[in-house]
């Protein structure tokens, strides 16, 4: 079959109205033939811009050339040089603003479907039983990693490859961080994908201790002084959910997206036999426009609720990945754009019965470069609903910086760390990911984990 070189080879997906009722993965991924065909679209540029667009600098044309020849094992080796979590990244990276965003193919047509190819390689390698190889020799240096999320796992994987002894301390009962508690099953399968990728990190020699809250169970100081860790990486992730401060936010039926998603994902409340309760509204309003808002909305939809998204700017400014917004719309989620909540209304028993919103219009650009939404006076209106999910981002968790002396934080409470090597104000202590930047993406956290691993390796090579 002749293919249109201007367009991506389409990827199969579960039909929208079918998937809106289940938690199975939306995107089904490329077949071998589809992947090899898509790989022929890569121009193998001598100066590949996609690599510079990738936060962990995967040799993208390098692995795609192997896919073209059908050599998945070789393609996996190329990706493994730079990434510990390819099956995850292939699914959740915002490729359109990174590798695919700068792909030369994208100038006149559609970019190469790099994310889907990465996913194909990772999934196929897993099915073939390929496991990444650990270091042959040990350096004898001990590194403690705080948090088994994308930043921590990446940092741990890279350091283990260098021969350091790495222990990850994870607060929850399962490793994975946001990959386990935040991103839903239909976007990122837990058992089939996340747990397997974590097994691969363990195969490099990394030890993971769950149920261990650094800052409470032990402090960074005690890990370094009493437990003999030579360096520490803080990848503890985002923290407490933000609320708007509007009346009615404490009402019964108002949840943070973090709570809603943690119940459904980590605690598996979406399954009928789960012991963790989750509220399924008849009509749910999700406030916010990021990936987390889309995840919460699509979770509520699958649990059986009608779902509305309320976002104060316009479609163009939605911070969520284009694909998520597209999927959400296809599944029947209703977008109320240029709309901002002013009050959550309740019945006499304290349960949510609606949300009063005001229409917005876009004014002058603000500090973020996006046009600032301003209220249209007198445009208030009421949406009836029985559940509200607030997805407004998070503020840093105070646990670590309040229990670690000499660790500088910025005015938002984020840990101060250099971008190039993750160094903090404390010698031997490095940090990266949401704990530093505030809520961002999986891949940026991985990029930071990678940079810090390099920083830590250099630091350790200079110490006795």
């Amino acid at each position: 079959m002749a293919i249109d070189m201007m367009k991506k080879v389409p990827v199969s997906e579960q039909p929208p109205l079918e998937r809106a009722k289940n938690f199975n993965e939306v995107c089904l991924g490329y077949s071998r033939e589809e992947a090899m065909e898509e790989a022929t679209r890569c121009l193998n540029c001598p100066n590949p811009r996609c690599v510079t667009g990738c936060p962990v600098s995967i040799n993208i044309p390098g692995f795609i050339m192997h896919v073209k020849e059908g050599d998945v094992a070789a393609a996996y080796d190329v990706i493994s040089e730079s990434s510990s979590l390819p099956a995850v990244c292939g699914r959740v990276c915002p490729q359109e603003t990174q590798c695919e965003g700068v792909c030369v193919r994208g100038i006149k047509g559609e970019s190469v479907s790099i994310g889907k190819l990465e996913r194909f390689v990772a999934d196929t390698a897993r099915q073939m039983g390929i496991v990444p190889k650990g270091a042959d020799t040990k350096t004898g240096k001990k590194v403690a990693i705080i948090g088994a999320g994308p930043a921590g796992l990446t940092c741990a994987g890279d350091l283990a490859r260098k021969g350091h002894s790495v222990t990850i301390f994870e607060a929850l009962h399962k490793p994975g961080g946001v990959l386990m508690y935040g991103i839903p099953e239909f976007r990122l399968p837990k058992e089939a994908v996340v747990e397997k990728e974590i097994e691969n990190v363990k195969a490099l020699g990394v030890e993971i201790i769950t149920d261990f809250v650094v800052g409470r169970t032990a402090t960074i100081d005690s890990l370094m002084e009493d437990e003999g860790f030579d360096a520490v990486f803080i990848g503890s992730g985002a923290g407490l959910p933000k609320f708007m401060g509007i009346p009615g936010e404490q009402a019964l039926g108002v949840f943070s997206a973090n709570e809603y998603l943690t119940r459904s994902n980590l605690m598996q409340a979406f399954k009928e036999d789960s012991r963790t309760p989750i509220m399924v509204g008849k009509k749910t309003v999700v406030v916010g426009g990021g990936n987390v808002a889309m995840d919460a909305a699509r979770t509520a939809l699958r649990l059986g609720s009608e779902v509305h998204i309320v976002y104060r700017r316009s479609e163009e400014e939605l911070p969520a990945r284009v694909e998520e917004v597209h999927h959400a719309k296809e599944e029947g989620i209703i977008f109320n754009l240029l709309t901002n909540p002013v009050e959550i209304t309740t019945n006499e028993e304290g349960w949510v019965n609606g949300i009063t919103c005001i229409r917005m219009e876009l004014g002058e650009p603000d500090a973020s470069g996006r046009r600032r939404p301003v209220e249209v006076p007198g445009s208030e209106f009421h949406i009836e609903c029985d559940a509200v999910i607030m997805s407004l981002g998070t503020s840093p968790n105070p646990l670590i910086h309040t229990t670690t002396g000499g660790l500088d934080v910025n005015k938002h409470g984020g840990i101060v760390a250099t971008e190039e090597d993750g160094a903090t104000s404390r010698r031997g202590v490095f940090a990266g990911g949401d704990a530093v930047t505030g809520a961002a993406t999986v891949i940026l956290a991985m990029g930071a984990g990678k940079a810090a691993a390099k920083g830590i390796d250099e630091f350790l090579s200079k110490t006795e």
Binding site: R216, T217, A218, G239, F243, L252, F255, E259, D273, L399
Partner: protein
């Protein structure tokens, strides 16, 4: 896995568990709590810490079977294992930041309601080890629900018992008992109250009236307990606070108890259904005809 080393029944539906959890035992301080999961399917249950033994590497928990998971836990015995024990969580009591001299100057009263006796014991024991004898009003609905009386007497100055039905000690609830002591001329300048929210609300109202600075330990709904999910939020002094990282103890005069009690009802219906299923086990299906 965390082994249950010892189990002892303290009263109707109230059991004490000594659990092996060396990391938690090593770091635990009075006022903190922890989270357990019974097994891989289990809910994360926040529980107060009653005692800890750093050398033995054990922690002591007191659990009342009131919900589905605690009922399920009541079927566990010594030698069984909990899937998870994580902690200690929350901030320790403010009292531990004070020097012995500062503590000695204070006249401290604890008010323990029902199961709240367990975490109060942890604080009294710590103070006792510092050479401080604090008083305690221990209240319950009826005599059988007054737990750990002998242990409390060992670490307490004056222990005043109170029961709603008058079956033991002062006839009346803890606020009646406090008012009675106050009228007799007993004075305190610091109070810690732990128990059911409704009891803490009225105890805090009274101590505010009497001018005793009071901390109340808030047992809110929680999921992760580490400052991530926001389920434990409550209003203190008009601001949103999170019981798991900002608390669990807050200034009792500033807590919006009515809102906290309302939020505690959030999952009651779902929990209740699950508990019925748990209690009735195989006989449950089809009982009332409402669930399939």
């Amino acid at each position: 896995m965390f082994e249950i080393k010892k189990k002892q029944t303290l009263g109707p539906k109230v059991d004490l568990y000594v659990v092996e959890a060396p990391h938690v035992a090593k770091a635990a301080m009075p006022g903190q709590f922890l989270i357990i999961r019974i097994d891989e399917e289990g809910e994360r249950i926040p529980l107060t810490i009653c005692d800890y033994d750093r050398e033995a590497g054990t922690i002591t928990l007191v659990v009342q079977s009131v919900g589905a998971e605690s009922t399920r836990m009541s079927f566990m015995k010594a030698g069984d294992h909990l899937a998870d024990v994580v902690g200690p969580l929350g901030r320790p009591s403010d009292l531990i930041e004070l020097s012995k001299e500062e503590l000695a100057k204070k006249k401290i009263l604890f008010i323990a309601g029902g199961l709240g006796t367990a975490p109060v014991y942890a604080q009294l024991k710590w103070l006792h080890e510092q050479g401080i004898k604090a008083d305690c009003i221990q209240g319950a609905r009826t005599k059988e629900l007054l737990i750990m009386i002998d242990e409390m007497k060992e670490v307490c100055g004056n222990l005043y018992l109170a029961t709603d039905d008058g079956s033991e000690g002062i006839h009346g609830n803890v606020t009646v008992a406090l008012q009675q002591l106050w009228d007799e001329g007993v004075r305190y300048d610091h109070c810690v109250v732990i128990g059911p929210m409704i009891m803490m609300k009225f105890a805090c109202q009274l101590t505010a009236k009497l001018g005793i600075p009071t901390m109340a330990s808030m047992n809110t709904i929680m999921v992760d307990g580490t400052g991530m999910c926001g389920a434990c939020r409550l209003i203190v002094d008009g601001k949103v606070k999170f019981a798991c990282v900002d608390g669990p103890e807050f200034d009792g005069a500033k807590i919006d108890f009515d809102q906290a009690m309302q939020r505690a009802r959030l999952y009651k219906t779902q929990e209740g259904r699950l508990m019925l299923k748990e209690q009735e086990r195989e006989t449950h299906e089809g009982g009332c005809g409402f669930c399939s």
